[in-house]
Symmetry: D2
Subunit: 295 residues, 4 copies
């Protein structure tokens, strides 16, 4: 959900970039990079291994896989299939060998275009839990996970915290793992709709360190939570700030800039012109990734 | 949810019509009729008072208020305000004097036009529970009920029974009353989008007698459930059957008819041409009724 | 456009069935049938060759190709590709050898689900005329036709006759051929969303004989008009009438039936429950057929 | 249509601000300002009276009325009625005393949220031309103008220039005046969804001076064209540029800034988070203004 623009980025990859020179190591954080040049999929795995690393990065301990896919908003169907397969491979590894019952949660507001990623993904999923319940084990393929899904809506629509809704459903239906899909905020427009982040830490608002009570994560739900997100917006103040910092050297000036950035920018976001169509396409790519991973 | 077309009608009013000649009394069932000629709102209250009456009517013991409003699908805004006020009056009486915390549930499939009544109603509601939680009592008017709402989706979308989802949320957020909104099936096309049924018995699939375990009602949720519905479809087989029964006298022929009605009709429903627009309009009328009743 | 329910069927195939016993010939009308059992596509070509045949059939002189495809509303993508190819083959033959500039017209009301076929088809088309104009011949493949498209809306939305809008655009942009896509009314629920009719006679309301002035056809537009349609509704009165006629033998009774069919049924149509989803799927199949035929 | 982001602003008001100090006069341009403090509607009328003024302003000779309405995106219905009335007053004055036949054109892409203003406005209009044609003069009120409307789509959807479509329809249906509705780009986020511009110059892309051949205006259509627009986006590069210019004094630096602004920003726009809902609301306000003006 794109509610909280204090956090300038939801991407661990960008958190790392903002702190570290390329050749400097952060203690408690390990980075692996790999490139599939042929399919043009660039993978970065950030492993935050200690509370110290978590503090520096502003994100909880865990694994953050980022797929950068320059052509992800293109129309080429076979290319999207490649991305879906790659995504499926990572999801399967995080879920583990054993087949598990899964609840997929489509976070965000379906009536706000760049926030509708989660609801759209759920709309394309193969839902199977009710089939298993009605027709028994023979109705699913051997490796197929029983999948249920919910689009909880946002607090302004429900009056409830998303966590309350999901926790109620988890306690009632007892899935073994939750997969949460969410639109993210990035720091760079270059990453919009071209990056997928997969993490085993769930969804954690704010600094993400110490207090996990409000997040949608294993601590609050009692089952592991995998989160999959795509950055769909950059907040406007961040863009102005970042562009200007590149130009202006002295520290005093930077302070001035922050103060001068119009307060009008605070409720604004930056998004590409074709966002309505792009959201549909990338949602489909994620759904297919999930459909492959869970069947 | 328009899933179950075995039930030929969801309206207690029609259940009564099919059994009783106008002047015959059914034991355990009381009927009150009143007409507001000026506003053209015709009210029938069916009270099923005994298990015997419930068996005859095929509906659980409780109160069924039916507003018949011939012009409800018209565009006249002030007329819709009248209906909303009348609806609010009945809802308030069923809720009782004391202000209560309310969870509104919008049943049905938002992607199937005539089944989207519940989701649409929730979309127009004034949601306040989160405001109360954040800003305290002073943020709501004295008589205003804290309102939360959920659109759970249908089993094909979620893999879960609607009851599981709602029960989870009710246990987690503890509303004092649930109000469920649902599209209904009627027996007569004359009633489509022109009738509102309000009942204190909740939603009860099938014959509605004896076994309440699958319904969305006080027995399954632990809190009272008011259900509000509007008939938006007639199933096609019913229409053919009913029209023919009017013409054909002998009992043997009736049997023949039933057998001859094409099985292709079984997944078909009858709906007016302007259903997309009508659903929007009547949803708004119900939402306003709820907004008035709860504030 | 589903405006005119006097016409009980828009399918030449059904017009023929209602007049002729299977083994009787209609003068001026030739029928060819063929079956592709493997792909389960059944083709009937009705050729109305004389004005006499036209009068008997209630449709203008011309060729009517009907594809009956029992599984067309299924989700199987590869099957839809087969139908698209078959459709493309027929369209190409009607267009003729030479590459032509094409205007595709998506008739119907995009806000009424079963009438939204035309608008949906246009939404999935590959539009190329502007590319040719901007980048020259080299920008299109050798056999690719320059394609433009319009969704004119219906008279209640525009205040104009559809013919006026299309004629204005045809005169201004001078396409060599018009392809009109439209939702049709059928007589049998069995054909809903399972039949594609392709004709070189354009769209002709009413009896279709003699007076072509209000149609969207070569006479009114000055260029050939191919029409492609899928039946998406059956009107409710027709269903009741037809089912009853099967049961009742004497002619006097039939008259009685027609009179007794409730006038409430006149604005009602019969449609399958999953019409919202089905329209999306079959629209895509037609668009793909056009995309293949025109490139 | 939000296609052309070279033009940094579509508002005459902003064009004036960027050139003139508040107390300097531009030759050939007259400005009138007035404030309705009670209703919080601030009106600026820019009259470009000479070709010289047009060159300086980058907009054709004509009248540009700007209503600035700080609360226009609020939910208060009665406030929106005030704006609609004020808008209707200006439209009526531009149309002139005599009742005229009107074609309303809803420009923009209905599938791109901030560009959907025009299509949405047309969706709420009272369309009457066909009623007049069918039932004669007595069917309209004495002062009511026969209204027709079209949503032509954008070039990527139609393959045709919008001008071609509209010119074809104008020649065929012969309205006496065209009213074009369009989403605009502004320079300041403060003006987004809070400003209405009404002009008698039609729609003119690019510098707007000299060459009017591609515009939708009296020169190209042969009838007067009133354009009504609301700014719904600011392009991202403009925001960065403008904020930075406020901070940096020397001219050389400004050049550097322009060059350094990331090319990634060029296809990005800035829009408020609640744009989906806001577009619906302001579209309704404009439609009501038109409905009042034309009846």
């Amino acid at each position: 959900m794109l509610g909280d623009f204090n956090v300038r980025t939801d991407l661990a990859l960008e958190a790392k970039e903002s702190f570290a020179e390329d050749d400097v190591e952060i203690r408690g954080v390990r980075i692996e990079e790999s490139a599939d040049e042929e399919r043009e999929i660039y993978t970065t795995i950030v492993r935050i291994e200690t509370e110290n690393g978590a503090k520096t990065m502003g994100k909880p301990v865990g694994t953050y896989i980022t797929l950068e896919v320059p052509n992800m908003s293109s129309e080429d169907e076979s290319y999207h299939r490649d991305i879906s397969s790659e995504l499926a491979r990572h999801i399967r590894r995080l879920i583990g060998e054993k087949k598990k019952t899964v609840l997929v949660v489509g976070l965000g507001n379906r009536d706000v275009t760049p926030d509708a990623l989660g609801p759209n993904v759920v709309g394309n999923l193969r839902i199977t839990r009710h089939i298993l319940k009605e027709y028994g084990k023979a109705s699913l393929k051997e490796q197929e996970s029983p999948v249920s899904a919910i689009v909880p809506g946002v607090m302004a629509q429900t009056g409830m915290e998303t966590l309350e809704i999901i926790r109620g459903i988890v306690r009632e239906t007892k899935p073994q793992i939750v997969i949460a899909i969410d639109a993210l905020a990035a720091r760079s427009t270059r990453r919009l709709n071209r990056t997928i982040q997969i993490t085993d830490t769930g969804i954690n608002p704010g600094s993400g360190v110490g207090n996990h009570r409000d997040g949608i994560n294993e601590e609050t739900l009692g089952v592991p939570v995998i989160a999959i997100g795509i950055p769909t917006v950059v907040d406007a103040a961040t863009i102005v700030n970042d562009t200007m910092e590149q130009l202006i050297e002295t520290k005093e000036n930077r302070q001035t800039i922050r103060e001068k950035i119009s307060p009008h920018l605070n409720t604004m976001f930056v998004t590409p012109k074709d966002i309505d169509e792009t959201i549909k396409r990338v949602s489909y790519t994620i759904s297919e990734g999930l459909n492959i991973a869970l069947s």
